[in-house]
């Protein structure tokens, strides 16, 4: 249900936008703190995950798919505690997109990172890192479906 999917993400975006600019970084920190640890089966196997080289810090990405024609996608992202901004972005995408249908994730606009209202607080490089992460997720899905 594409509309449903966007709803989760839309709520996150609204949460960010409703805050004064100064407090948005605090919310991003909450997402960083709450980024789920990768499941046990990935521990020590980061090299088997996809490395997102566009990010300033090591970031690993894995996607798992259900058997459906339009599969449910589970996102697993691993990023170190020394990189809270990267972790925060990862947290937004995991909460906003994981558990949704592939088609719905593919329909998410590419400029989501710019909608969080962080363009003044963060360097353009950081925001591009998040766009790159979303791009990687979509590419992984497209490859899986083809």
């Amino acid at each position: 249900m594409p509309a449903q999917t966007l709803q989760v993400l839309d709520e996150i975006i609204t949460d960010f936008q409703d805050l004064p600019e100064a407090d948005r970084l605090e919310l991003l920190l909450e997402f960083s703190d709450n980024l789920p640890e990768p499941p046990e089966r990935y521990a020590g196997h980061e090299d088997e995950m996809e490395q997102v080289t566009e990010c300033q810090t090591p970031l690993f990405l894995a996607l798992e798919y259900s058997e459906d024609e339009d599969p449910i996608v589970t996102l697993i992202i691993s990023a170190p505690p020394e990189a809270p901004t990267t972790r925060g972005f990862a947290g937004v995408l995991v909460e906003g997109l994981s558990g949704q249908r592939a088609s719905a994730i593919l329909a998410v606009p590419d400029d989501i990172p710019n909608k969080l209202g962080l363009t003044n607080a963060l360097t353009p490089l950081r925001l591009r890192g998040m766009s790159a992460l979303l791009g990687r997720i979509k590419r992984n899905i497209t490859t899986h479906l083809s």
């Binding site: 990010c55 809270p84 963060l122 790159a132």
Partner: protein, 297 residues
């Protein structure tokens, strides 16, 4: 009223500019000391910092939002005041990434003539690796009156025109990685969006990657080792005028600190426009490959 803050003795040329984590643990609560944490990742401070340390954000607090330049005198005074810094405060900087951004912030304070600035050797990582206390508590700040002073860009900072004039006359140090220096890549590893139109280096610049000045734990190498690296291997000799650059001026602020305060070169300028300006500029020469190259005719 000023109470003097002890200098930590060392073999470096200016021991008054460097302190250890041990020193910080002892003096961080001294009434004339303000600790400033300056990181590449702006959220890092919020995940935990040295108790009492105040955050400074290089991107939003030191850069002018309109012009590619640093903030002006009024904005600087306001920023310093808001962090509890007075003109005679001892400001101790530390941060992530081996103190790149800490050195950068310290350098900007130096442009504003703030006299007592010091860097914590080894930075944030060393403090944490030693198991010292960190907290998420943000300290209450008693704002200070910081005077409005003019920035002096003449002695510690170089601009593009000055660098262009200096080719073939003054030693230039390129502190980027080897692959950036040779032109093989137009960005540093892991930072692919910060590319430029052309890769390479400024003609005659010697390559001394910033990290060669640091030990594995992020602390600086000994004065002897640094002398060998810069004075002998990079052919600086006793030259008292050097210009350092990198990609946007943060890694070269680290090298500026080494040359200026650990080795004691009298005139070292950081070219903060660095490769993101030079490599995109119309009408300036570059050299590709391992050799420094010749000054163009």
């Amino acid at each position: 009223m000023t109470t003097s803050v002890p200098v930590e003795p060392s073999d470096y040329a200016h021991p008054e500019k460097l302190v250890s984590t041990k020193w910080v643990a002892e003096y961080k609560d001294h009434p004339n000391v303000v600790l400033l944490e300056s990181n590449e990742d702006t959220l890092l401070y919020s995940t935990g910092h040295i108790p009492g340390a105040v955050k400074i954000d290089w991107h939003t607090e030191l850069n002018d939002p309109v012009t590619r330049d640093f903030i002006g005198p009024e904005a600087f005074a306001k920023m310093a005041s808001s962090k509890g810094i007075g003109r005679d405060t001892t400001v101790v900087f530390y941060g992530d990434k081996s103190n790149w951004w800490a050195a950068y912030a310290l350098w900007v304070f130096t442009l504003y003539g703030h006299e007592d600035v010091r860097l914590m050797n080894g930075g944030r990582d060393k403090w944490i690796a030693e198991g010292r206390e960190i907290t998420r508590d943000v300290p209450e700040i008693k704002t200070c009156d910081y005077p409005v002073v003019q920035r002096d860009d003449t002695t510690e900072r170089a601009n593009k025109a000055q660098v262009l004039e200096s080719i073939g006359k003054l030693p230039l140090i390129d502190v980027r990685s080897n692959s950036e220096y040779t032109g093989e890549t137009t960005h540093m590893a892991g930072y692919p969006q910060e590319g430029t139109l052309r890769g390479g280096h400024i003609p005659t610049a010697e390559s001394v990657p910033w990290a060669t000045a640091a030990n594995e734990d992020g602390t600086f190498k000994s004065r002897e080792e640094l002398t060998k690296l810069y004075t002998e291997e990079a052919n600086l000799g006793q030259s008292d005028q050097v210009i350092a650059y990198c990609r946007i001026g943060e890694r070269s602020a680290h090298t500026w600190f080494v040359l200026r305060y650990l080795l004691g070169y009298e005139s070292v300028r950081n070219y903060d426009g660095s490769w993101t300006e030079w490599g995109n500029s119309v009408g300036v020469p570059i050299v590709v490959g391992e050799e420094p190259g010749e000054a163009p005719n």
